[in-house]
Symmetry: none
Subunit: 80 residues, 2 copies
């Protein structure tokens, strides 16, 4: 899965979609760590700001939480 820079949907929303899918399908289970922001930068070739914007979306959806100095963690892999 990659980002379509020419698409209508903003890249940060595309990234949020991709990560949301990984979480909701259980590909990354609750409590597990997500790739670091730097790894996401490389994987999707997006700037840090864009990564952060996507993560903010997932945080607002209560799907992930961030732990300063530790990483990104899946909060709810399924709706409950």
């Amino acid at each position: 899965m990659s980002i379509d820079r020419e698409g209508v949907r903003a890249p940060y929303l595309q990234l949020a979609d991709i990560l949301r899918t990984r979480i909701q399908t259980g590909e990354i289970p609750t409590g597990r760590k997500l790739p670091s922001q730097m790894e996401l930068e490389q994987e999707f070739d997006l700037s840090r700001n864009t990564i952060k914007k996507a993560l903010d979306v997932l945080k607002a959806e209560d799907l992930i939480e961030t732990a300063p100095g530790r990483g990104l963690f899946v909060k709810n892999s399924k709706a409950e």
Copy 2:
């Protein structure tokens, strides 16, 4: 019991939790010595700085006291 390095909770807090439980359950009674910092390093595979940080937490909770050159001691095994 061991430390989950991938967990959301920082290792030093996990260690504090583990030791707090051992104390509060009476597994290590009041006045008894805890394993030395070096032994804790080996048991949990953490650096001494991290061990120390966990001990600082328990000291702040008045659960243990440290004696330079002697070791770590349980102050209150139960709430009183």
